[in-house]
Symmetry: C2
Subunit: 316 residues, 2 copies
């Protein structure tokens, strides 16, 4: 059932012992949303905790600073930025999948698996909804919550660069900065600094970039062998997914990442007129209009063929 | 004489036939400020025009769309984002240098050469002051003014990434977006798009990156041969100079570009504690604390040796 911000606040106000779940391959928005909401619930005197099936990349450590790690038996489960319960991860979907009370999300593809869903597909980040929720809960945003909010806003918008940014995104960023968010440091960690291993992975990736349809489609492939050679891991390769679309003339940029089971995760980024989520629906996936994801079978050459085939119908 | 926003508005309101001057090597802030202010003055029924001694790069064409190119004999001269009258250019400083009525600027180094100066060194961009001025003039910001404002805000902050961003920067960006600024397209032109030839040049550059002093110094070299192989040119390689410093652990990042005469232009970027201009003084150059330039003799290996030798005394 879809509910609004004030209903969501009312719902949370009457509950306690709340476990907040993030999606696997956690990013700044799911973690920023989870930690900011957790802090807001704790400010109301509630027991609240955050969790994720996957390990949290070190660069997000600051989100957890001073976050009370209270132990309690959860009575209620809240998923943030999780469009489909399968994105909770195999173990978590077994454990919590049927018991999600509330989902707060901004993905148009949200499958409405939770009992209550607070969804705004126009929000650039789930963190925008968390700002509104914190306000509706009557909690004053502190610097730690603000760091969570700012992290979600900046990471889901490529530092306010993408077409999903609205005036609200900027106003919430202003609010977060006024509440004490460490904006410049967060941006440096998220966008500026690259590890030697990432640099090496990007180098290998760029060496193998391929173009199709007169350069309108660019494909980067990342294999387990490339992770081994570079010393990098899957957690470092999010930034690479943005590269193919940036190349002049490219309408559909795709990045294929080989999983340990031999399948390939596909990230699709499109320009203007092409619906990335429609492309990804042909690859058992979905997402946003300009950024979406799917999955295809290996081996590598077959995966590339399948992905390019999926893209072919959309090239102008 | 320093004046405030409302005094500046009062001053402009009583004048007519206003020529607005931008600095040489024009960037998004000086051009966005000039065109937005010009449109606001024209909206008040005044004769106003913009000019710059240097040619305007094509990527800024959209700022001039539909801007009335009224011909008139200027009575008053306004400089925007021009910290020092010498930055008007050799010819313009001769022609207008002693006659600038008003300067609107955000550089702390402003030399107060104008009769009246509206200066806010805390503003991330001069465009922030132009927003306040447009309001004080009682003009409603239209989409064309908003494009100018947004351009200045985003280009002077690296797309809202740098430490100079305040909550005001974000609020003015929100205002510009609500007034119709084409934010995503502007960001794409300014930051996103890379040509195939640039991509190839960066790939070659990254293939040859070298590290010194336990990875504290990273050096990228660009040779005439690499320009030939990639099809790229020197005009495309500014972005590459930012790369070496971004690598984790690097304190001094250097980029050496081979000139046609066989000498090498050196760009130095440093983190936090190292003075880039001091490093470059050892290479017949200078500049800012974090970004500076110099020149060394070839051939390649000797150039690298000279540059690394210059850096050696500064490595912690």
């Amino acid at each position: 059932m879809d509910i609004g911000v004030s209903e969501t606040a009312a719902l949370l106000r009457e509950k306690d012992n709340i476990l907040i779940l993030s999606h696997t391959h956690p990013d700044g928005d799911t973690l920023g949303s989870a930690t900011a909401l957790c802090r807001a619930l704790q400010a109301l005197g509630k027991h609240a905790r955050v969790t994720c099936e996957d390990a949290i990349p070190d660069k997000f450590d600051y989100l957890y600073r001073g976050l009370d790690a209270i132990d309690f038996k959860p009575d209620f489960y809240v998923a943030v930025d999780v469009a489909d319960k399968r994105l909770l991860g195999e173990e978590f979907v077994q454990r919590y999948g049927e018991r999600i009370l509330l989902c707060v999300d901004h993905h148009p593809s949200n499958t409405k698996y939770a009992q209550y869903t607070l969804l705004d597909p126009k929000a650039a980040a789930t963190c925008e909804l968390i700002v509104r929720l914190i306000r509706a809960l009557g909690v004053e945003m502190d610097a730690a919550m603000a760091d969570g909010i700012y992290t979600g806003l900046t990471t889901d918008t490529g530092c306010f660069r993408y077409a999903n940014v609205t005036s609200y995104t900027h106003r919430y960023a202003a609010d977060a900065i006024e509440a004490g968010a460490h904006a410049a440091q967060i941006n440096r960690v998220m966008f500026e600094t690259m590890t030697r291993t990432y640099m090496e992975l990007e180098r290998l990736a760029m060496d193998g970039i391929r173009f199709f349809f007169d350069g309108k489609c660019a494909v980067i492939t990342l294999t387990q062998e490339m992770y081994r050679r570079s010393g990098s891991g899957e957690d470092e390769c999010d930034a690479i997914a943005a590269i193919p679309r940036r190349i002049e003339g490219v309408e559909i940029g795709m990045t294929l990442r080989e999983k340990k089971n031999g399948k390939f995760k596909v990230s699709v980024r499109t320009n203007d007129s092409i619906d990335a989520s429609a492309v990804c629906r042909l690859m058992n996936g979905g997402g946003h209009a300009r950024a979406a994801g799917g999955e295809v079978d290996g081996p590598l050459e077959e995966a590339v063929r399948t992905a390019v085939e999926a893209a072919s119908g959309f090239i102008g």
